[in-house]
């Protein structure tokens, strides 16, 4: 049971070949760029399988097996539809894992951060103190950024609606 929970934690966000549909007419392109060669037009509601993401682009397999790139924001996944019935069970499984030391292995319902638990929560000062002990200084964060080759840029906030 515990191993299953670990496996679920390791599952990549975008599972391979995730079914998706297009929200507008668009083009299937050879590479992830707006000036890349167009392989085929794709119509609104066309079904594709999403394979991987790169920046604002997602590599998809279109009907007929043709692969290429579409703008990521053109895609909506089947999550809202009938394709995915039922619960992933993540919450229940993790609860079993968390209470595993008790040896009972009985899921006692959803724990943690649901509305009821939040409403009834008592302050936990010990955890808050621990949290404060983990904070990073500005200088440490700058060093961390440099080691990841993150460069700060000046960018204005967008105005509402664009």
């Amino acid at each position: 049971m515990k191993r299953l929970a670990v496996l679920l934690l390791l599952a990549p966000a975008l599972a391979l070949a995730e079914p998706a549909t297009l929200i507008r007419d668009t083009e299937l392109r050879q590479s992830p760029a707006s000036d890349a060669a167009v392989l085929a037009p794709l119509g609104v509601n066309a079904k594709v399988e999403a394979l991987e993401r790169k920046g604002g682009w997602t590599r998809v397999r279109a009907e007929g097996g043709r692969e290429g790139w579409v703008r990521m924001l053109m895609l909506r996944y089947a999550g809202a539809g009938e394709a995915k019935q039922g619960d992933s069970g993540i919450v229940q499984i993790l609860n079993v894992a968390r209470s595993g030391t008790s040896g009972t292995q009985v899921a006692t319902g959803v724990r943690g951060l649901d509305a009821e638990q939040l409403a009834n929560a008592k302050p936990n000062e010990a955890e808050l103190k621990k949290l404060h002990g983990y904070s990073a200084t500005d200088a440490a964060a700058a060093g961390f950024a440099a080691s990841g080759k993150l460069e700060a840029r000046k960018i204005d906030y967008p105005k509402e609606g664009g």
């Binding site: 995915k84 992933s88 939040l118 929560a121 302050p123 404060h132 904070s135 993150l150």
Partner: protein, 276 residues
């Protein structure tokens, strides 16, 4: 019932220093409304941080920190770096991963930011984590929680809250009431427009930090791809616009997204921090 209401109004007017007359006066009530608004607008930075600290302690009472110091420090580095790119770098920013299977993230006023283990587990890169943290940072920058508390106070004006947040009260009492109102927001959520604003600002803050601007949209797409009935999503979906709607809204700033899409994703560093 009527009598009790009249009594309440009398007490209320008597409590206001300038109230000389005892008849029910609509203008007077409206003035009290303005005072509530002013009182919460008046929350200074020190008080903002205190309320947020108290709210954070409550949140940690519902779910403790993930027992992984390396992960906690990692998230603090990412978060602190992002916060340094904003107009409020001097706040006491703290970041934490909550040991909870649900997928969610929270901010409290003054700079406490949390993300659940359940959500982190669904991410694939540091740029995605940065996008989520930056969304929460934006709530703090724009004081969305204080705004919501103030709005709630106005809505409840006709009932019991009149004067709730007035400065004339003992400050401990005031702090307690602000905490209660603020903590309610965890389950009730913020304004939809504030969520969408936090998405727009979050994308920019992550890009300022040198991250692939599509990190946040990628997380939204991950959520959109999940079964909306999933029990791990219940609270997040109750308190936020649907992921598809948020993605629609972000399309309006696609030019900004595209301009910074080629920046760092740091998938390997993220996986390392998670011990994958």
């Amino acid at each position: 019932m009527m009598r009790r209401l009249a009594l309440a109004c009398c007490l209320l007017l008597a409590a206001a220093p300038a109230a000389a007359q005892f008849n029910i006066n609509l203008n007077r009530l409206l003035d009290v409304g303005k005072n509530v608004k002013k009182a919460t607008t008046d929350v200074d930075e020190k008080e903002e941080v205190e309320i947020g600290r108290d709210m954070a302690a409550r949140l940690l009472g519902a779910a403790p920190l993930a027992a992984d110091e390396a992960l906690q420090r990692y998230v603090n580095h990412v978060g602190r770096w992002l916060a340094s790119q904003t107009e409020r770098p001097g706040l006491p920013w703290r970041f934490g991963v909550l040991e909870a299977p649900q997928l969610n993230a929270f901010a409290t006023p003054g700079g406490h930011i949390f993300v659940t283990r359940g959500l982190v587990a669904r991410m694939t890169s540091e740029a995605e984590l940065a996008g989520v943290l930056a969304h929460e940072i934006a709530h703090v920058l724009r004081k969305h929680h204080l705004k919501a508390i103030q709005k709630g106070a106005q809505l409840e004006l006709a009932n019991t809250v009149v004067g709730t947040f007035s400065r004339s009260e003992g400050s401990a009492n005031r702090r307690e009431k602000l905490l209660a109102a603020g903590s309610e927001l965890f389950a009730r959520g913020l304004d939809k427009d504030d969520e969408l604003e936090a998405d727009r600002l979050g994308v920019v803050i992550a890009a300022r930090g040198g991250y692939d601007a599509y990190g946040l949209p990628a997380v939204l797409q991950t959520l959109q791809a999940m079964n909306p009935e999933d029990s791990g999503l219940a609270l997040m979906f109750k308190t936020h616009p649907a992921p598809a709607e948020r993605l629609d809204a972000l399309e309006k700033i696609q030019s900004t997204l595209d301009a910074y899409a080629a920046q760092q994703q740091l998938a390997a560093r993220f996986s390392g921090a998670l011990g994958r």
